[in-house]
């Protein structure tokens, strides 16, 4: 199973993370960390009204955290706050339910993270990006 885990798609996102970097004047800047792992992540989000126009991330973490973040940025770019919320729920369920694919959406590259759901200690690595994004939405709502 770890063989699938570190498959081509995951490794590609780890090696060439999409949307890596920072943004000039983000609508929301939000940081997340996993103190127990030492993983750290910063997200810059630019919203146009309700819609996520731009997203960039910086951070350090394991391959799983990096790949999950990279995939998330690709998946969420252009989505509305409500859609993002749905995706966060969908991803959490995906991790919780042993990696069963949801029938209401195409997971895209995220499918490659399926195996992680079977490694409870690593799930939190994959979740970091998503819980940080959740926090970002909360900050957006306060604006």
């Amino acid at each position: 199973m770890p063989d699938d885990l570190y498959g081509e798609i995951l490794l590609d996102h780890n090696r060439y993370p999409r949307n890596f970097g920072a943004l000039e004047s983000p609508t929301v800047h939000v940081e997340g960390k996993n103190p127990l792992c030492g993983d750290e992540l910063a997200l810059d989000l630019v919203f146009d009204g309700d819609s996520l126009k731009e997203i960039r991330f910086k951070g350090q973490g394991c391959a799983i955290a990096m790949a999950s973040t990279s995939m998330m940025t690709e998946m969420l770019k252009g989505k509305s706050a409500q859609e993002i919320r749905e995706w966060i729920e969908r991803f959490k369920n995906f991790m919780r339910d042993g990696g069963a694919l949801p029938d209401d959406a195409d997971m895209g590259d995220l499918e490659a993270l399926s195996g992680i759901s079977k490694l409870p200690v690593r799930v939190k690595c994959a979740l970091l990006a998503w819980t940080t994004m959740e926090e970002g939405l909360k900050q957006l709502a306060k604006k």
Binding site: M1, P2, D3, L5, Y6, L11, N14, R15, P35, L36, C37, G38, D39, E40, Q60, G61, C62, A63, I64, M66, L119, R122, C125
Partner: protein, 419 residues
């Protein structure tokens, strides 16, 4: 590679000892388990488990209070375990051996019952930067409660304490020195006897966290001369749920109880109570009876194997692992490189997060630990979020270190230089 490894004197015996540990025959994802995580918890030999089962099936009863035969048998065995532990660590009397749940409770007991009572504003508590959270966080609370301050002993780049700073560190108003005997991250073996003498010279008390020492080297608390010594059963071939606090008798007498309840009292009135004698004053309620008996059996097992032999075997494994890891490209090793270290090595492989390394090694059945090892301040000082750690014990073989190296090679193929 496996066949190229020369056997040596301790190897043959270790191969034999492995028979006592059926879990080592476990298959992980189709390959045999290579257990390199004994610093987290050791495996338990059949003899120790058998002692536990025998107790449960033939002598199980509550201790101290029972007049019936079973109660007597249980009490005898519980107290005999205390006696075995006392002599194993060179305690002057069995009454100075307190059974706790583990190192963590032992240290908390000293913090609540000794430090909170006797330390005061302005006093200084000396710690080292390599302490496990168990010997760090409780002292932060003592500092909060008493107004005492924490002072950290400086560490040299090789992960040993800077002993040239002794006079700067150990001077009034230092009242307490709490340090680990062997670091669970660096493998550093601290000069506890020397530090104890220096601390006593200025009237400070010394607590030693022996969680990584008692399983691996022969420890004599009387020779060290310290005031408190703490360790856990589960890292020394014993069960979880039990540990030991050894304390100097005069201090234990002066201390207030920590937890209260049955067995630790002498007389209870509606509004107040008086305390039982040591060690019972510190053992409220039903103690971990089967666990104590089982710890006694673990001590017997270690004694039969021989602490000298264990130390030698550990040393050979650590030296060999050090040699293999340091001759490999892109590996950073933490802690002393001269071989003067405990049976564990923390390291990082360039470009591979230790969590990914641990997951990939697990694919090959190799169990190493990855993370902060309950030593976050030390991680910060080392400038890394986490490390991988391979730790060894009496049942490990040189071949297993070869397997670790092969696993690291495969992990590199998958991940290294990825970014």
């Amino acid at each position: 590679m496996k066949n190229a490894m020369p056997k040596n004197s301790t190897q043959t015996k270790a191969e034999k000892l492995r028979e006592d540990f059926p879990i080592l025959k476990t298959m992980v994802r189709g390959t045999p388990l290579v257990y390199l995580d004994s610093a987290a918890t050791s495996q338990r030999p059949s003899q120790v488990l058998a002692a536990y089962c025998l107790f449960c099936q033939s002598h199980n009863a509550n201790v101290h209070r029972g007049i019936h035969s079973l109660g007597e048998q249980a009490t005898d065995r519980y107290e005999a375990a205390r006696e075995r532990v006392a002599s194993f660590i060179g305690a002057p009397s069995k009454h100075t051996v307190i059974f706790t749940r583990g190192t963590t409770e032992s240290i908390n007991l000293v913090c609540y019952s000794y430090a909170n009572k006797f330390l005061k504003r302005g006093d200084i508590i000396v710690l080292t930067p390599m302490e496990h959270h168990a010997n760090l966080v409780p002292w932060q609370l003592v500092a909060n409660i008493t107004g005492a301050k924490l002072r950290y002993w400086p560490m040299k780049p090789d992960g040993t304490l800077d002993m040239s700073a002794t006079n700067d560190i150990l001077k009034p108003p230092v009242k307490m020195v709490a340090l680990t005997h062997i670091s669970n991250v660096l493998g550093t073996i601290n000069p506890v006897t020397e530090i104890t003498a220096a601390a006593h010279a200025i009237g400070a008390k010394v607590l030693i966290d022996g969680a990584q020492a008692v399983p691996h080297i022969s420890v004599n608390v009387s020779e060290i001369g310290c005031d408190f010594y703490a360790f856990s059963g589960h890292k020394m071939c014993g069960p979880t749920g039990i540990g030991v606090l050894w304390g100097r008798e005069e201090l234990l007498e002066e201390m207030d109880p920590f937890m209260t309840g049955g067995e630790m009292i002498q007389e209870v009135f509606l509004d107040h109570s008086t305390w039982n004698e040591i060690p019972y004053k510190f053992e409220p309620g039903t103690p971990p009876i089967g666990e104590a008996v089982s710890l006694g059996a673990a001590v017997n097992y270690l004694s039969d194997v021989g602490m000298d032999w264990i130390e030698k075997h550990d040393h050979k494994l650590a030296a060999y692992a050090l040699e293999r890891l340091s001759s490999e490209e892109g590996i950073e090793i933490y802690g002393p490189l001269n071989g003067e270290r405990g049976a564990l090595i923390s390291f990082n492989v360039e470009g591979i997060h230790p969590h990914d390394l641990a997951t990939l090694l697990d694919r090959d059945g190799i169990a190493v630990r990855a993370g902060h090892h309950c030593a976050q301040p030390l991680m910060r000082q080392l400038g890394v979020p986490a490390t991988a750690r391979a730790s060894f014990y009496l049942y490990n073989l040189h071949e297993e270190i070869d397997q670790l190296m092969e696993g690291i090679h495969r992990a590199k193929e998958v991940l290294a230089y990825a970014r």
